[in-house]
Symmetry: C2
Subunit: 354 residues, 2 copies
């Protein structure tokens, strides 16, 4: 064993869909080992035990166990804060599922404890590693479509809200606090600009007490407009990503990375197109540009990120790298979410620097 190749013992708190998924993800990481599981629901403990994992009798038992290095919190959202603070105070490093807390103030309380206890604390914003997002971010950095001025990021399903605590307000349910957290976190990674204004509408088509989706329009100081949309009542999807720049448009339609990039051909002078018949009228404006005046490119895969989420967490514990998911970033997303709730509730455009 090389110097520094210490194995860190992770205990998973909450063994639902996400908790058991974390177990699968952690297994292949060289410096991490799943040392046990705790869940308040008996059958989940039985599942964990059947899977060969040590089960703890209580959260206190986890925290009292000196062999535990890292606590990973995959419970409903409402109890993240208390578990995180207790774990940090017990000397554990902590990974928490998103949304880390329901309010930005609650999050700052955790950050304060992490600082005081000198423990590493981060949030599982795993979708920063999604290939579709990384390709879009790369394109924007390389100005593949020129200067970016419009970004539309959508996830749309037709299955409603999952039939669990995600339908309940007290547990931090609803889609803004679910997929919304990912899409907004990704958005804030795409530009350095500050937010200037936020408008939003939550949807309550399914009659749940929490939003079953939302649309938010976010204007940045540099002129970028972002449309962020989550829907759970969409039987046909709009594209996952649609970005417009001064030189072209790119679309990624789905997780399979289908899509294309179409740009102006800089070598061909603009030719006003001939009008086409469109419905009961002519249009020159909406005629397709001539074949030779545009260039079409496929969506190309890009190399994997240097470090995975978990590898980065280990590096941060060992002081070898900064956390990929920084507290300031997590806090900014939470402030944005609060602003979206406010904009929707007041049916107004909130002008606020974020």
């Amino acid at each position: 064993m090389k110097m520094g190749n210490r194995i860190y013992n992770v205990v998973i708190i909450g063994y639902g869909g996400m908790g058991s998924y974390h177990v699968q993800l952690i297994e292949p990481i060289q410096q991490l080992a799943v040392g046990g599981v705790y869940d308040i629901v008996d059958y989940r403990m039985e599942l964990a035990a059947a899977g060969g994992y040590k089960t703890y009798e209580s959260l206190d038992a986890v925290l009292a166990d000196q062999a535990v290095d890292i606590v990973l919190i995959a419970t409903p959202n409402d109890v993240h804060k208390e578990i995180a603070i207790q774990a940090l105070q017990a000397g554990k490093h902590v990974i928490c599922e998103k949304p880390v807390t329901i309010t930005s103030a609650d999050f700052l309380d955790i950050v304060e404890v992490a600082k005081k206890e000198n423990r590493v604390f981060t949030v599982h914003q795993n979708r920063r590693w999604d290939e579709d997002f990384r390709i879009i971010k790369d394109m924007i950095g390389k100005k593949t479509v020129g200067e970016l001025f419009q970004l539309e990021s959508r996830v749309q399903g037709a299955n409603g809200i999952p039939g669990d605590w995600r339908q309940l307000k007290a547990y931090g349910g609803g889609m803004l606090l679910d997929w919304g957290v990912h899409l907004l976190d990704q958005l804030l990674q795409i530009t350095d600009s500050q937010i200037e204004s936020v408008a939003a509408k939550l949807s309550y088509i399914l009659g749940t007490e929490v939003d079953d989706g939302f649309t938010s329009f976010i204007e940045f100081k540099d002129g970028l407009t972002a449309v962020i949309e989550v829907g759970t009542t969409n039987y046909v999807k709009l594209p996952r990503w649609y970005i417009k720049g001064t030189e072209g448009t790119a679309v990624i339609r789905d997780w399979d990375l289908s899509g294309e990039i179409v740009t102006r051909n800089p070598d061909v002078a603009h030719v006003e197109p001939k009008p086409i018949q469109a419905g009961q009228g002519l249009t020159k404006t909406m005629a397709p540009p001539s074949e030779e005046s545009t260039l079409k490119f496929p969506i190309e895969k890009i190399p994997a990120a240097a470090e995975s989420f978990y590898q980065n967490f280990v590096s941060a514990i060992e002081g070898k790298a900064e956390l990929a998911i920084k507290s300031e970033e997590v806090h900014r997303v939470l402030v944005l979410i609060e602003t979206i709730f406010e904009a929707a509730a007041t049916k107004s455009v909130i002008r606020r620097t974020i």
Copy 2:
């Protein structure tokens, strides 16, 4: 010749793209004949003469000609009003291109003169006859996707604003006053509900003094949200129509009527789907619904409208039918356009009953 089969003599004022298009459309109409053309630009008069049409020396000459029954105005937008009023006062019936006027107040002035002179006056909202629109309106009426709660209507091109007066503010240029008029007019035909609030953003990507596109979010009192969008810098198009109802979603992608309708299968109980891998995470919410739990239908063509725009105009002159394009409807679209300009200029949500 049968009783009432009188032929009406139409003179076209403005022989640009739209004026010459009207000539083609009017030729096949049994009770209409193009009796001549007037344009302030010499070469257009030469084109009209070369096409075998009588040319007039001036607008006054057209209006003084007792043989002229109908004046069709296809000039830039800024002079519609004065020509319309003069023509009505000269005893002509009038068809005017859209937008009929830049302001709703100007339009009311024309309506007053038309009433006083007892002449028929209408606006060429030809896109009410577009098949894509008529299919969508029909679907909504039949509740093909259940109760409608979201409607997205977009036209997107990559050719910029046409290189003429449409780029100039003084002439009533810009895309809100161009394609916007059609999309908003169609929208107001789709629901009986009143508008509750309007938010909007105009785009100025091309650096013109007028908008090169816009997005508007319109909330109706019955809960419908409409997204109306026109773009001239979109190298990839989003669908022409995207409608969501309580039972499903329908999309018409383009003028070719490609698209589909996907609805919940009422005969199959909802089955929570299995999580799928999407990017670097699992999602149950965004997993496609199971094959058997949805129904898919093609977009079907519908029979042509009973009367064309021009036939209806003749019927209205002869007192046999109401005008298809009514003054109250045209006025409401103009008030909505003014509200969109106001919402965009003030960067706020305008709560106003329209």
